[in-house]
Amino acid sequence: MKKKLIRIIVAFGLFIIIFTVDKIVNLGNVFDGVDGLWLPLGLYLVVYLLVGYDVIWKAIRNLFRGQLLDENFLMVIATFGAFGLAIYRGLIGQNIDGFDEACAVLLFYQIGEWLQKYATGKSRNSIAHLIDLRPDYANLLVNNEITKVDPYEVALGALIIVNPGEKIPLDGVIVKGNSDLDTKSLTGESLPRSVKVNDEVLSGCVNLTTQITVRVTKVFYDSTASKILDLVENAASKKSKTENFITKFARYYTPIVITAAAILAILTGLIINDWGISLYRALNFLVVSCPCALVISVPLSFFVALGVASKNGILVKGSNYLEQLNRANIFVFDKTGTLTKGNFAITAIEPKVNQKEILALAAIAEQNSNHPIARAIVAAYQHKIPNGYSLTNVAGSGVIATKDDETIYCGNAHLLENHHIKFVPYPSVGTVVYVAHNQSYVGCLVIKDEIKTETREVLDYLNKIPAKTVMLTGDNEAVATDVATSLKLTIYRANLLPQDKLSAVEELFETKKINDTLCFVGDGTNDAPVLMRSDVGISMGGIGSDAAIEAADIILMHDDLRGLIDAKCLARRTMQIVKQNIVFSIMVKIGILVLSAVGLANMWLAIFGDVGVTLLTILNAFRVKKKLIFKSTKKRAI
């Protein structure tokens, strides 16, 4: 790389000097007559060989291997041709010029190649840096002695020490020490997460404040960091339709342009009867015959996008999914855990005047139960629960708590009816828990699965696109209607057993139009088949859930639905830039071809057009990274 750069700079300097001198004194006229051409030819040829000997060598080598459509070969033909024409013109006594052009073509071609290589190398490094999760070592603790070992060698159950500033090398559970972890490289979340003894920690996080001792629960290859790295590294092997289109286009483009060049040479030669000019125009064609701008800019845009996504805690398994996500207009959501928190919370206590008493009584009755509803009640009651009650569980109805002559009934309508307690049924879509004290009705609590705070924002965004939004849930009709109307979902399906979800999605597939793209968003539990069946399967809160990581196409590492907005925005932005690059480079190429055909473009324009368009598309590809404003990430930061 560096050697080549020096060579290019030296050659460029020489070229400028010779070129300026040539323009001032006209090197062709230094010696009289026909022999005058040898001086400029010799000087330019020195520069030409200096800058392009490797290209010539490759061209010759490829010629013998039968690779005639190789770009090196084409460049050499074009420049040799230009030299040849200039010599020919000199020999027949016309103006001696054209050597500068031939030399410049190869010079700028090399400059372009170098810049292209530099830019792709840079992007490769910066992307690799973004997803630098790979741990270098682990501090293994054996008999109070610490040894640095390869994380690969650490066995299950071993103890490792993670010092502040070090990356956690393997997944495990903390056995000693409380600390804060930087999970940024894993989830994109910038706020540190505090962890304490018995908390699970994931490889790839950085320990921030204090030393912790971790018992390893997963070997290196099963650990989160290696899984994610694997996934990101293999992502590039799944190519989008656009990429495949471009490589196909490139395959036909070069032969077509070369054939066109040959036809052009013969036709214009016959028409204007000047073979020098017709050949020159055909050589121009060869200069723009390499489809490099396209072949590099499209995958580069996707590549940058995948890197940006993983930096923000969104793992995309291939550029094809990004392409499809951009088109996605049917969003199917799993309700529990995705749209809603999946945990129950008290949303109302009626009548309001007795709130404290109702909650206190309910908490007494439910204190020993493991049912999610019971836990929601106990969690809501923040005081110490009086004990000494004997609790009787009435299956399917509720709990009866007794102490001396005091009785508390806590449960559904059946429980109170069975004990002949008069009450007013409370109309609600959630689960209603009635509470009675000593044979008289006190009140009731309404418990519902809470809608996540960010859900509304995400659905508003999707409705604006506009996209069809579908909710699948195992809950009853009433709950589903409530959530669906409050979130303005297009349709919902209630009372679905886990296995019914797949058939519900199949039904959607049957009714959708050809151009519709279906995207399923779930939390990864029980929905692997649906994730796989959908055009794009998105699972959220992916860390730690192997099934979700395996089945989904896109994984939102955060347990935050707004990642969907981010992913969708990124997909759109990427596809826009890809389209811009394709249209722009094809237009420029066609433009140069047309201008060359009618004789309005010289080789200077052709080479600048070709190199310029490649560089511009590369720069444009980087806008995927720069201009993308992660809406929700920004909001999160505030």
Partner: protein, 72 residues
């Protein structure tokens, strides 16, 4: 079986595309993906035939881009 190989000195995007195209023509290979940006090649082929497949792969790559080396 799927194997990932690193490619050294894969210099031109178009060559990578050409390589991929030619490699996919090899019968024993189910799928090949050559990625210029990551400088990686992913080959999916039958496990028993992998070695013979690789010999052919090396030959094809050498023909298209003699400077490029497959790191086994």
């Amino acid at each position: 079986m799927t194997k990932v190989f690193r490619l050294k000195d894969l210099d031109c995007a178009n060559c990578a595309a050409k390589m991929e195209h030619c490699l996919n023509k090899i019968d024993a290979i189910n799928h090949v993906s050559v990625n210029f940006l990551t400088q990686k090649m992913v080959i999916e082929a039958d496990e028993n035939e992998f070695e013979t497949v690789m010999q052919e792969v090396v030959k094809v790559c050498k023909k298209i881009e003699p400077d490029c080396k497959i790191i086994m």
